[in-house]
């Protein structure tokens, strides 16, 4: 984990946003009294199911949506002010670009929007294209790019201003495993450079791997915020034992497990409660004439907390 100083980069406090949708202007609360903060130098994950309010929160931070109540600041400046975005790079969810432009032309345009002069842009752009793995195709029109390549262009434009804060909305969306790994590495390298990264994601193993802290949003509210080791205690959830043979004693073995799954190749998968006696179960397998193929303890993961919170209707 990177070192975390006390300087607050992003501060969200009591944020509220309700959309009025359709002909009858039906009210849909997208964000409800959300509060969290991101400190300088940390990688902060915003996780939650679809419709949790993650994208709305990030769009409020980028000044694309006005909040109904509460405040959102970046480096202490209200997020509705253009100045708050001077040192911020942003990758929207499934980014869309001018497809008639070449990748380097698009980045040149955005460099001008960041106030960079042409010389500085000409130095920075090839370097960035290389960093996101598009060094060889910078002179190709974006309409010829695959979804994964466009996501990389999106990452390149987010890194364009040498930002102190990088906000990424679902950066791994639509990427193959190699692309996901590359994004993960880019985020980790940003941390090594002392940048602050705030990103939303559904891919919880990646969040677990790279985030210092997370905020879990469900139904527009922030349910949990904290360091991963505070949220996930790592306690034993269950033990999985895979057995071959031992059909004669199956009924007896099943009685000792919380779940039994017969598999096509003649193996049986048993889940034992944490408090169950593993020695006693293994002894019973041998007695029944079976052989133990594997024993795997399952510890609590972020996904367990996530599913638990998502299943709960309202915050306590």
């Amino acid at each position: 984990m990177g070192s975390v100083s006390a300087e607050t980069v992003v501060e969200i406090s009591g944020l509220e946003k309700t959309f009025r949708i359709g002909f009858w202007r039906k009210q849909v609360a997208a964000v409800r009294h959300a509060s969290f903060s991101v400190q300088r130098g940390e990688i902060f994950g915003l996780i939650g199911p679809n419709g949790a309010g993650k994208t709305t929160t990030l769009k409020i931070l980028m000044g694309l949506i006005k909040p109904d109540a509460g405040s959102a600041t970046i480096f202490g400046i209200d997020a509705s002010q253009a100045a708050s975005r001077a040192k911020v790079g942003f990758l929207p969810e499934t980014p869309h670009f001018y497809d008639y432009l070449r990748a380097d032309e698009l980045l040149t345009y955005f460099a001008h929007l960041y106030g960079m002069d042409s010389k500085a842009a000409a130095r920075r752009i090839p370097e960035l294209l290389d960093r996101v793995g598009l060094g060889q195709v910078g002179d190709k029109q974006l309409r010829k790019f695959s979804k994964g390549m466009l996501q990389r262009v999106g990452l390149a434009q987010a890194l364009l201003p040498d930002a102190e804060l990088v906000i990424l909305d679902e950066p791994q969306s639509g990427l193959d495993p190699m692309g996901r790994r590359d994004v993960r590495q880019i985020i980790e390298s940003l941390r090594d450079e002392g940048k602050t990264v705030l990103f939303s994601s559904h891919i919880l193993p990646d969040v677990e791997q790279i985030c210092d802290r997370v905020a879990m949003m469900v139904g527009g509210t922030v349910r949990k915020v904290g360091r991963l080791d505070e949220l996930v205690d790592g306690s034993l959830r269950d033990v999985e034992v895979v057995v071959r043979g031992g059909e004669a004693g199956l009924a007896g073995l099943a009685a000792l497990a919380t779940r039994t799954t017969r598999e096509p190749l003649g193996t049986t998968r048993y889940l034992l409660a944490p408090e169950a006696s593993l020695d006693g179960f293994l002894q019973a397998v041998l007695t029944a004439g079976g052989s133990v193929l594997s024993v795997a303890p399952h510890r609590q993961r972020l996904e367990d907390i996530f599913l638990l919170e998502a299943a709960r209707k309202e915050a306590p």
Partner: protein
């Protein structure tokens, strides 16, 4: 200012890629060329006829292009979500909107130059002349089309292209008929309708000011003061329309 220029330049690049604009331009130039054929049928009047039809074409098609660009340029960016990447940069929404307006003004200038060049060339080939008065007529047509584009942009800041197009077309029609509407005022007796009509006549731009075809075809000189006054008149409407558009655009959510 550099940012406005960058947005304007890329908006221009996007606009000139639109095939619909070329179709409109093609019809405008076709109509100018057709007026040669039609004009040759009139005795000793072919230059006047050519000037009349030519300026009418440039005016009409210039305004059509202005409406088209005004209602689609920002809307397309919202629909295609390219706007998110632009507005998330450290730029004010007013800067973005002024850049889009600048891009439209540049596109209209190029389109008008092409149409004006076609008419001027045709006039010269038919033995006519191109003088400062004609260039002034082109300029006023340009100011009118930029003003129409600003109305379309204003409507586009809060509604869909169809609604914006409909409203802008309404403004354009009223602007063309404002003198007739003013003359009709005396005949309206019902107070509410009269007040409504009075309001429309007072607020609507009189587009007839931007057309000096009659003066040109009959050789009446138009002074520099007139060109200046009408330019300022158009500029006033542009400032109000853009100010209102930016006011609304700044309050929009981009979901």
């Amino acid at each position: 200012m550099k940012t406005v220029a960058a947005i304007a330049l890329y908006s221009f690049r996007e606009a000139v890629r639109n095939k619909i604009l070329y179709s409109i331009l093609f019809f405008a130039i076709l109509l100018i060329l057709l007026s040669v054929v039609l004009g040759s049928a009139s005795v000793h009047q072919d230059s006047r006829f050519l000037l009349d039809i030519g300026l009418f074409s440039i005016n009409l098609f210039g305004d059509i292009i202005a409406i088209f660009l005004g209602i689609t340029s920002v809307f397309q960016e919202i629909e295609r979500k390219t706007l998110y990447n632009v507005l998330s940069k450290p730029i004010d929404r007013a800067t973005y909107f002024l850049g889009k307006f600048g891009g439209i003004a540049m596109t209209l200038a190029v389109q008008l130059l092409l149409m004006a060049a076609a008419l001027s060339a045709t006039l010269l080939l038919r033995g006519g002349s191109v003088d400062l008065q004609l260039l002034g007529a082109f300029w006023l047509t340009y100011v009118e089309s930029v003003m129409i584009a600003s109305f379309a942009l204003f409507c586009g800041s809060f509604s869909t292209p169809y609604v914006s197009g409909f409203i802008t077309l309404g403004v354009w029609l009223i602007g063309r008929l404002v003198q007739e509407l003013a003359a009709f005022l005396d005949k309206v007796e019902e107070p509410a309708s009269r007040h409504l009509l009075q309001g429309i006549v007072a607020l609507a731009p009189d587009l007839n000011f931007f057309t000096i075809t009659t003066q040109l075809t009959y050789g009446y000189p138009v002074g520099l003061a007139y060109f200046g006054a009408v330019t300022l008149y158009g500029l006033g409407y542009i400032v109000v329309a853009m100010g209102a558009a930016i006011f609304i655009f700044r309050r929009r959510d981009f979901i």
